[in-house]
């Protein structure tokens, strides 16, 4: 009897010790409750205030675009336009930016360039990832150089090459053709992203495809591309955003009004907002061309990108994380 009781006491002791250890473990894991709550609160505060720094200018742009001239000059009006929402600002901005033509051009340029980047850079990236041959390291080094050096500084020979040797004046060819060859706006970066992604894929897939008699180009389009949706999404969003927001190249090559793209007109709109007399000496009507109209133009040019991003947002963030993990 006694022995049995002792044993059970020992057992109890052991259980108690286990519980104690467990609670210690819990404490280690989460800290005490108050500390925990405080920590959480602090984290939220910090994150939301930093997110606000990012969000603030967008909100500001939006309210500014709806103000009238009187609201703009009234310093007591900050967020909410008290003299009514002036939607007509958007109409003025649209007309001044020649929206009907330039927006179509913008979509055309961005669409074609993004499509070419996705197809060709995946193609080239696959070559870099899978096939090793003599000198492939050297070529990869050149790729890194092309990625690191800002190609905009070499624009002078490029400009002369395009306009004199190829005769591509006043067309979108100087912007679109290089994307087919894996260059263009940050082309090297996309090849690099695809290469990193493909290098992490298991080789068995392709081997199985080869055994079944699939050629390597066919393998790429039939086997590899369908399973690399995340990196395709990342590259297409990056390429799209960079092309949409770019000014440098369009300002050089797209000078005729017929082929100008939408955001190109924005600097002019902002200039009109601060000037009182335009280049030809005419007085600018301040009730039409002011900060509000300029902001409306900016909102209009952001809107397409924002809408597309909202649709793709979840997959985009996850997709970049996958590619990031492999770098």
């Amino acid at each position: 009897m006694r022995k049995k009781k002792e044993k059970s006491e020992l057992e109890i002791l052991m259980e108690q010790a286990q519980i104690k250890e467990l609670s210690n473990w819990e404490k280690l894991k989460f800290g005490s409750t108050w500390k925990h709550i405080f920590f959480r609160f602090f984290t939220y505060l910090l994150l939301f205030s930093m997110a606000f720094v990012f969000l603030y200018p967008f909100l500001f742009l939006l309210t500014d675009s709806l103000k009238s001239l009187a609201d703009l000059t009234d310093i007591t009006v900050k967020w909410i336009p008290v003299r009514g929402l002036r939607w007509i600002n958007y109409k003025f901005a649209w007309q001044e930016l020649n929206g009907a033509v330039t927006l179509k051009n913008s979509f055309y340029m961005t669409g074609v360039a993004t499509f070419a980047h996705v197809i060709m850079c995946s193609f080239i990236g696959y070559g870099f990832a899978r096939f090793s041959f003599k000198g492939s390291n050297l070529l990869f080094g050149i790729l890194m150089l092309a990625m690191v050096i800002p190609l905009q500084v070499m624009m002078i020979p490029m400009f002369i090459l395009f306009s004199n040797a190829f005769g591509w004046t006043n067309s979108m060819k100087p912007i679109l053709i290089p994307t087919i060859f894996g260059y263009g706006l940050k082309g090297g970066l996309y090849i690099f992203i695809f290469r990193q992604f493909f290098a992490g894929l298991p080789k068995e897939l392709e081997e199985a495809a080869y055994i079944d008699g699939c050629g390597f180009i066919q393998t790429h389009f039939r086997i590899i591309l369908p399973i690399s949706k995340s990196s395709i999404l990342v590259v297409s969003i990056l390429s799209m955003v960079f092309h949409w927001n770019d000014y440098t190249e369009p300002n050089m090559y797209l000078t005729k009004p017929k082929i100008r793209i939408f955001p190109q007109g924005l600097p002019g709109l902002y200039r009109m907002a601060v000037q009182f007399v335009d280049d030809l000496g005419y007085v600018i009507d301040k009730t039409i061309f002011n900060q509000a109209t300029a902001s409306a133009g900016a909102v209009l040019s952001l809107l397409p990108i924002l809408v597309i991003y909202l649709f793709a947002q979840k997959n985009f963030v996850e997709g970049i994380q996958h590619t990031g993990a492999k770098q």
């Binding site: 984290t43 994150l47 930093m50 720094v53 500084v153 070499m154 440098t248 902002y270 300029a294 990031g324």
Partner: protein
């Protein structure tokens, strides 16, 4: 014999895949690079077909030793870059760690932090920043010179600034504008770091906890070494981003020298000096990274 065949076939296939890029490299990278270097040491006779004759290193001499305009510009831009890059990397690592915590609303916060990327480094972003500043400071009411303050958009109500007086508020705004600028560069590094943090396996932290390590120790002993490579990638990305953005002063000077005052040769020399400094800087960073990597092993 078979393996040799296989290897050769692989090489041919690889070359076929890469061939568009090789053509592109010759046309859009090597040729312009060669022409830029050639242009920087010669004088143009006619712009058509870039006919030129050799002149020597006059432009370089002018940039590096004679002119007082250009070297200070380079040092200013690079100093700014060297201050900002570490700040961007540290900030984004910090934010990424916070975003990686197991909290509610994480998804919303994550997509909020990617938002500035959509503006690119383009014209709208600049405008937004300037405009926010003007309103915040209540520039007209204060009578302060807004151009000397720099850009900034945060968060202090102008009523508070009125009480502080111009000097203090200038200081505060400068500090805040620096932080804002840094924060706006963060999105892509944040995403890179998030990916890296998620690839660290949780069992490492658990075993460290069992051994009684604190959060602080775990950060230095586990987190940092595990994402070392990503830190390197983030640094390089941030640097490239700042080098090539069109608001960069060197870039705009090169652009205006070439296309406004049509001194193509001089602009080419400016660009060559710029690229040389960039390459040296990146080589130094890779060197340091290699040294750190070796000392670990």
């Amino acid at each position: 014999m078979r393996t040799v065949n296989f290897k050769r076939r692989q090489a041919i296939q690889g070359l076929i895949l890469i061939s568009p890029w090789i053509i592109g490299t010759i046309l859009f990278f090597l040729y312009p690079a060669y022409e830029t270097i050639a242009l920087s040491v010669s004088e143009l006779d006619s712009i058509k077909g870039l006919q030129k004759h050799y002149l020597g290193f006059n432009y370089y001499k002018n940039i590096l030793f004679e002119s007082i305009a250009y070297m200070p510009m380079y040092t200013r831009v690079f100093k700014e870059m060297l201050i900002r890059t570490p700040l961007v990397v540290v900030f984004s690592l910090f934010i990424a760690i916070l975003l990686n915590l197991d909290i509610k609303g994480r998804g919303v916060l994550r997509s909020l932090f990617v938002l500035p990327f959509l503006l690119g480094s383009g014209f709208i972003m600049q405008q937004i920043m300037n405009q926010g500043l003007q309103d915040e400071m209540g520039a007209t009411a204060m009578g302060t010179d807004t151009t000397s303050v720099g850009r900034g958009t945060i968060l202090i109500p102008r009523e508070v600034l009125w009480y502080l007086g111009p000097q203090v508020s200038n200081l505060v705004t400068q500090f805040l504008s620096r932080i804002t600028e840094v924060l706006w560069k963060c999105p892509v590094p944040i995403i890179l770091f998030l990916g890296g943090l998620q690839s660290i396996s949780g069992s490492l932290y658990e075993s460290a906890k069992v051994d009684g390590a604190t959060q602080w120790e775990m950060f230095w002993k586990i987190t940092l070494p595990m994402i070392g490579e990503i830190i390197l990638v983030a640094i390089i990305y941030t640097l490239i981003d700042m080098f090539s953005e069109s608001t960069n002063q060197v870039m705009s000077v090169i652009h205006s020298t070439a296309f406004r005052s049509t001194r193509f040769e001089f602009a080419a020399a400016l660009a060559c000096v710029y690229i040389a400094i960039i390459l040296i800087l990146i080589a130094i960073i890779f060197g340091i990274a290699a040294l750190i990597g070796r000392s670990k092993k």
